[in-house]
């Protein structure tokens, strides 16, 4: 019986003209495109935050000529301070965009598998030859790759606009533009930022995002609440039994990209600067990272399975 029924699909396909061949990655590619169409706010939101920040920066530029004058005074004591003062808005820009990234990722993940059930479009998506695995992976790809890279691109664009604004102000005040460009070491800054985004804001918090993804595919409403409840419960039990708070600290810090054995030098708040040392091998060798990946994989596996059973709500 089994062999007979297994043979059936072949005989059916044999009757038809061979279909146009789709590569295996094509459904994944189009599923990621679908996510970006559906969640245009992840792009618009980042651009809006960037726009507001640039506007504020434009106003603050009034102080720049004074800063540069102090810098050119060549007092070694004040030189470092001066550079730090000029570089600070660049660091803050990156920080603001990373905070935006965290918020976007949380809200995106918490809605990812909920939206299609809420608006019943899951019946349309399931009428196409795209597997549940592909659909869930597309959402994970957005969190792991698309969102961090988008944040990187927006921040780089912000930095370039800020540099241009700086240059215009300096030139208008008859000052050297070259010294600004040489002191800021912008390319090093970008390299460190990209590394930081990928490690601390994509790979490290990935298990938390996957947990949100899972709950978004399970809960009928209030996905963020349902995602938070077990965390609160476990933290409460831990506090009661052991009088410790490791769990809540681990989850919370992971979410904001902290606690990762990445690129923070001791006592340094912002991840960039001349004191920063990139330590990719220490990061990749951290057991916490791999335990997180195992948890993330388990969450994704459950999410795939859930989507198979789920219909509109």
């Amino acid at each position: 019986m089994n062999t007979q029924s297994n043979a059936m699909p072949d005989s059916f396909e044999a009757q038809r003209v061979a279909p146009a061949v789709l590569t295996a990655t094509q459904p994944l590619y189009w599923s990621v495109r679908r996510e970006l169409w559906e969640n245009r706010w992840i792009v618009i939101g980042q651009l809006a935050v960037a726009g507001v920040y640039l506007f504020a920066y434009l106003i603050s530029l009034a102080h720049l000529p004074t800063l540069m004058r102090n810098l050119s005074a060549q007092d070694p004591m004040h030189h470092m301070e001066g550079i730090a003062a000029i570089a600070m808005p660049y660091d803050i820009a990156a920080g603001v965009m990373m905070l935006t990234l965290i918020l976007m990722s949380v809200f995106y993940a918490a809605d990812a598998l909920h939206g299609e059930r809420r608006d019943r479009s899951i019946l349309f998506w399931k009428s196409l030859p795209v597997s549940d695995l592909t659909t869930v992976l597309a959402k994970a790809v957005v969190l792991l790759v698309v969102l961090p890279l988008l944040t990187f691109a927006v921040t780089v664009a912000m930095h370039i606009i800020m540099l241009l604004l700086n240059s215009v102000v300096l030139a208008a005040n008859g000052m050297s533009v070259v010294s600004l460009w040489s002191e800021l070491s912008i390319f090093t800054m970008w390299g460190q930022m990209l590394y930081h985004l990928v490690t601390a804001h994509a790979l490290w918090p990935f298990p938390v995002f996957c947990w949100l993804l899972l709950v978004s595919g399970w809960a009928r409403r209030a996905t963020l609440l349902w995602a938070a409840l077990p965390v609160v419960a476990i933290a409460g039990i831990e506090k009661l039994v052991f009088n410790t708070s490791y769990f809540i600290a681990t989850v919370g810090i992971r979410l904001i990209g902290g606690g990762a054995p990445t690129d923070f030098s001791p006592g340094q708040m912002m991840p960039f600067g001349p004191m920063t040392h990139l330590t990719p091998f220490r990061f990749l060798g951290a057991p916490g990272l791999w335990m997180g990946f195992i948890f993330a994989a388990a969450c994704l596996a459950v999410a795939v399975r859930l989507r198979r059973y789920q219909g509109p709500i």
Binding site: W30, S121, F124, S127, L128, Y309, G311
Partner: protein
């Protein structure tokens, strides 16, 4: 080789039995109407066929197990569900891009050709379209897919009569080619009556009638009985009797047509009348019990 074959298909939700041992066989090129009252199990049966719900029993669609093999099955099966399910945020062009990107049997030019006949523009978002237009759009997408089986679950629910008529006309003229199979459920039986080749009544999770339309014509006869022949007609055991404008209309199953012609005016019952006779008596019996 059947397109759909089911044996003892069962599905329960808690204590409710949605499908109670359904046996089903749909051959290639048929247009099957699955008719039943609300909650009869129509949608559950279709969901099982489409791989949207797990089930007990044996089910093969195009030789595949729909539950374990949905994504492959969907290369050869299309469906339009009971209400407009196209994502409201999408542009028409997004949907064309997406389906062209993931579906090996989608002919984009064909879909654009269908859309050109409507007032739907590719820049429009689904949320800006009327319900009728969304259905037109969905039908254009589905008709451009070279599928072997098309499943329609109340596809014209909530549409006005113009759109409803246009829907089935397009389906017959531009899509159906005798090698494709269509399964349709609807409450507006009279609209699909002329296009069906097969009919199936489902009630309380069971198939209560399954026949081809030719079989229906040869098996069932409705007689508008002359008043003086009512007693004679009742002796032939009609399956249903109703009154219309003072005359008794009796419905017979497998009774000789010649014999009935002597009793009054003879004609083939409509699906709606047959439905009332077959399902209505069951519902009435349940009510008494």
């Amino acid at each position: 080789m059947p397109v759909i074959e089911a044996h003892g298909l069962r599905k329960t939700f808690g204590t409710t039995t949605a499908l109670d041992g359904v046996d089903l066989r749909v051959e290639e090129g048929r247009i099957l109407g699955l008719i039943g009252p609300n909650g009869a199990g129509k949608t559950t049966a279709l969901n099982a066929i489409l791989g949207l719900t797990p089930y007990q029993g044996e089910l093969r669609v195009l030789g595949r197990d729909p539950w374990s093999d949905r994504d492959h099955l969907m290369c050869d099966v299309s469906f339009i569900a009971d209400v407009a399910v196209l994502p409201r945020w999408a542009r028409v062009s997004n949907l064309l891009d997406y389906v062209a990107g993931v579906h090996p049997r989608f002919d984009r030019a064909k879909a654009e050709g269908f859309l050109a006949r409507t007032s739907i523009r590719q820049r429009s978002r689904v949320r800006e379209l009327s319900k009728g237009m969304v259905t037109q759009l969905h039908l254009a997408l589905v008709m451009a897919i070279d599928a072997r089986l098309l499943v329609l679950d109340e596809p014209t629910l909530g549409l006005d009569i113009l759109y409803r008529k246009q829907f089935y006309d397009s389906l017959l003229n531009d899509y159906y080619d005798r090698s494709r199979t269509i399964v349709v459920t609807t409450h507006q039986v009279e609209e699909v009556e002329h296009l069906l080749t097969d009919l199936m009544f489902i009630n309380r999770g069971r198939i209560v009638l399954a026949c081809s339309m030719e079989e229906l014509e040869s098996r069932y006869v409705e007689v508008s009985v002359n008043p003086d022949k009512v007693a004679a007609a009742r002796a032939l055991k009609p399956i249903h009797e109703r009154q219309l404008l003072g005359r008794s209309i009796l419905l017979f199953d497998r009774v000789d047509r010649q014999q009935l012609a002597a009793l009054g005016e003879v004609h083939t019952p409509s699906i709606a009348d047959l439905f009332v006779a077959v399902i209505g008596s069951q519902v009435a019996a349940q009510g008494v019990a």
